[in-house]
Symmetry: C2
Subunit: 596 residues, 2 copies
């Protein structure tokens, strides 16, 4: 909690939003209250079921997916607490909460139980699509029941033949005389797509209207409920069949369904927004969903870090090298350098990730309240640039962090007696869903870096420069500020090298190692976020006279900065070397296949 | 199979051992026969149960651990086929098989089912301790039943308070008038320590004889059977209680027990070898066990590689960048550069690991047959140096390889419909058991590198030099040979830097980043193994006129060499930078704890 508040109030100044009428309510006091309330809910309804919900699983039975009954209770409680629609405008029954605060809340809840908050998170996201693009009638029909936790919302994109390649989706929609559509097709991997005890499920579904153009330009967005809603509120089955549940390695309590629509030609759907613009509309939700996945990664990594820190502080094993006396009791493992390295690595990844996610949500919030078109464009460009990184780094390096946490437990880490094995299974989904790491990396290099002639990169450089300038004032941080500047120049060089390939027409070579470019880029971003955190810590250390836990926390921030720059940042040397070496493009398919 | 044979016969010349009487039987023909027989057993009894054994699990019930009945059948079949005692001398009922061949056999079987071969592997290893250090009577009493697969063998080291720190074990042994001992204590994490359907379990157990010195110098080795064996062969319960089974993330079909000895003061044990030399005796088995863990890692990574290669060759998704025509069918994912990179990475890690493991087993075999003391010492030093790497690299990077394999499956990789999620869970034990990566790394830097004044490093350098010299003859390989020489110099520099710290008395600083040194060192070792494989491929390409699959395989080796040097080797830049930077030792515990 201390770390979360430090990041919010001291690093990212989230309460500055309260100067705007839209977020006026969210002063520091209100924000603190919200965090406390969220923590209470997490402590009482989420964390105690972390294991149980996993062991119960989500099995297909009698045409639906059986999940632990706490899911229904939590949905109701979250609805009552206002958490599902918290970010929505007050006139729609929301709390108009800034996303920076809302995501802090979700981080807390996710650390307690990353499977369960999927249900509420998706419902809120699906409702947002309806209130952003739906008709007033649609809003009135669906949103209140979604916000109350009675109805579940989903995003239904993936099909068996169309995963990463959404352009290839084939679910069809046929216009009827009453203005509704008849939907026919299959969707897979639909999170919370159906489960025991839920009254209705509102799918925000992509489908292709008959006669629409091929590819992404012929995709439209529909509301396809599990049960149709009559004007009197009664429910009629809508020919959406749950054909099965995916049995997964992790997030086992999170129902993932296989849906078949229109087996009886009676699946009704209603267009949301504009015909053939469905993918664009959906992207509004997907960008939010990407941030959410990053947040899930960070929250799982956070649960792993604190669990392993506690274990390291309690478990005696072996003796510190400087004291090998066998007649003395064993040392706590936190005294071993290698264990400390693994703890520091986790902390650097997790807190750095959270800081980046907060950077993104603040950009989002400022975008909502800005009335200056130029500023809006800048905020949007920067947010778009950072989004694939905010999805990928906490997912990929979060998984690495959790693995290091597991290692600290030794053999126990592999056993179900401790939470680490579950966290290790759970987080592995993050690099996969809402666009794999490969897709995010191509998005970063192929779209975001080159957008508006590279303007986003310049805006980023300015942000970094700001932190460098402040850090130059503190002797202890100066060397790190200089390092970050050098790293920025190196990133620029690598970028120019790659863009040069694209300009010479070698688009395949340009994007072939996008994944490594993502690693290089995100490591730079983390280095920036760590300098930003260290600056905030320095400010506090120089103006307060901190003691106790507060002092530890602030000094810990400076230590993590140093750790990141010593242990992680040098990896840019390796990625740069590989990315600049294009003497031979080894990964590009040739006519003669030799991979065997 | 082609790759395995290439590594055995062409890279490591395993049949050269047949010139020695001890291994005279193992010509290429016999070796091929053995591989074929092993593959047949793997195809019929192991691979078909890969999933089933995992889902069945290993649950504690009625005082024992329930496992899938195929385990008992496999033990018998392996016994009949002679696989359990294959490496033992013929006079003991073994086949006197060189370990290089035996490990190739185990690699095949492990790729088919890594949990099941644990049972046979441990039985063979435990028997080896008995025939290396036990009395003739002990040998006659236990070994035949173990080799036949009727009785299970284990190694019982770990205790709740003594995991990595074996010096702290407290299980006690009290000498009785009849020369046997009474054992009292607890052991945890005992693989195959008890399970349904097994007639007897022979624990090779470490315990402390009453009055023995503290620490590792007071530990002795005992045979502690589940049932005592009378002279007429009848069995009596030996007061070894199975108190529970560990519920694990992976290798779920491999029973892991918690044992309590001597609750009724009636647990008999018999000393094996010399009093207080138990840890030394056990290390003979542990070195073999470390190679086995490396082999498990490599075999799991191999199963993952071939599964993901097959999927990539069958799954259409998206379109190759050079052909975005939406009216054409989707491309196979193997055509995408990022998928190819993940496949090549897996292949480079897996085949490189297997090559290193074969290097080690050949050193072991040559050590067995050498009659030259100086040569023996050299072989031993080199084997000791490489063993922690052969355990760690295939475990750590094997897990990374499997994760890349899983990623190729997209969302399906996270689901139980495909084997990747299980392989991902299974391999995670490898960096933990038989000494964690942290322990192996300290062993490498703290003991092996500095042993005999660094002689092992010189012997290694000579081996590397040999490959470099050959590679300098092939224009295509020359640049890689030069790179490897430079890397060797760099490794030397880093080593001197670290050893310098130790010489100045900073032993804690010297070992603090042993883990990173392991990464640096093992990457050099892999680069050497890849040059060695490429040399062998070049020899074949230049002397044969290879076609079809043979040509693909040989060209694939050169491609993997290039891939490793472009994508993996540059990482040495990062580790070297970190290891040389000791301006501040961040991971060494200070009085004031700031990790929070």
């Amino acid at each position: 909690m201390d770390n979360l508040r430090f990041l919010m109030y001291e690093v990212h100044d989230t309460t500055s939003l309260a100067t705007n009428p839209q977020y006026a309510e969210y002063t520091r006091e209100t924000s603190d209250m919200m965090l406390d309330a969220a923590k209470q809910l997490a402590d009482s309804m989420l964390f105690p079921y972390f294991e149980e919900v996993d062991r119960y699983g989500s099995k297909y039975k009698d045409g639906t997916i059986q999940v632990h009954p706490i899911i229904n209770k939590f949905m109701k409680a979250a609805g009552e607490g206002g958490w599902i629609g918290a970010a929505a405008p007050t006139e729609l029954g929301g709390m108009q909460m800034p996303s920076s605060l809302f995501n802090a809340v979700n981080f807390l809840m996710g650390a307690a139980n990353n499977s369960m908050i999927g249900y509420t998170g998706l419902t809120g996201g699906a409702a947002k699509l309806i209130y952003s693009f739906g008709t007033k009638e649609q809003q009135e029909k669906y949103i209140p029941k979604m916000f109350s936790g009675d109805w579940q919302g989903t995003m239904a994109l993936t099909e068996p033949q169309a995963g990463s390649s959404l352009s290839d989706l084939t679910t069809s929609a046929k216009l009827m005389d009453d203005g509704s559509y008849r939907i026919k097709g299959q969707k897979i991997f639909i999170s919370s797509g159906d489960y025991s005890g839920v009254e209705n499920v509102v799918h925000l579904m992509l489908a292709r209207i008959e006669g629409a153009p091929a590819g992404s330009k012929g995709i439209s967005l529909f509301i396809v409920p599990k049960h149709r809603v009559s004007d009197d509120g009664s429910l009629t089955p809508n020919d959406v069949t749950t054909a099965g549940a995916f049995s997964k390695m992790g997030q086992c309590g999170y129902a993932t369904s296989h849906l078949i629509m229109g087996e009886k030609d009676d699946c009704h759907g209603w267009l949301v927004g504009t015909e053939n613009r469905g993918l664009r509309h959906m992207f509004q939700m997907m960008n939010g969903a990407r941030i959410s996945v990053g947040l899930t990664g960070a929250s799982i990594a956070s649960a792993a870090y604190y669990a392993s820190l506690q274990y390291a502080n309690e478990r005696p094993q072996g003796r510190r090298i400087t004291n090998r006396d066998l007649n003395k009791p064993q040392s706590l493992i936190i005294e071993h350098a290698d264990v400390r390295r693994m703890l520091m690595l986790q902390k650097a990844i997790m807190e750095g990730s959270l800081s980046l996610l907060m950077e993104c949500t603040m950009l989002h919030d400022r975008l909502q309240i800005s009335d200056n078109e130029e500023e809006k464009e800048d905020l949007d460009l920067l947010l778009e640039l950072l989004t694939p990184i905010a999805k990928t780094y906490p997912s990929e390096d979060g998984a690495r962090a959790v693995s290091n946490g597991l290692q600290i437990f030794g053999g126990y880490g592999f056993c179900k007696d401790f939470p680490l094995e579950q966290l290790y299974r759970d987080i592995r989904i993050c690099p996969l869903y809402e666009g794999t790491t490969g897709i995010q990396s191509m998005d970063l290099l192929g779209r975001k870096v080159t957008a508006s002639n590279g303007k986003a990169l310049m805006l980023l450089a300015a942000q970094i420069q700001k932190e460098v300038q402040e850090a130059m004032n503190y002797d202890e941080l100066k060397p790190y500020a200089k390092r970050l500047m050098q790293e920025g120049q190196n990133l620029q060089e690598v970028t120019q090298h790659l863009v040069g390939m694209a300009m010479q027409g070698d688009t395949e070579g340009f994007l072939a190692d996008a994944n490594l470019y993502m690693e290089l880029f995100s490591t730079n971003i983390m280095a920036w976020q760590w300098l930003k955190q260290a600056n905030a810590a320095k400010r506090a250390l120089l103006t307060e006279n901190p003691q106790g836990d507060r002092l530890k926390m602030l000094e810990g921030k400076i230590l993590s900065l140093k750790f990141y720059y010593k242990y992680e940042l040098p990896k840019t040397l390796a990625w740069s070397a590989t990315l600049k070496d294009n003497a031979e493009q080894l990964t590009i398919a040739k006519e003669e296949e030799v991979l065997c």
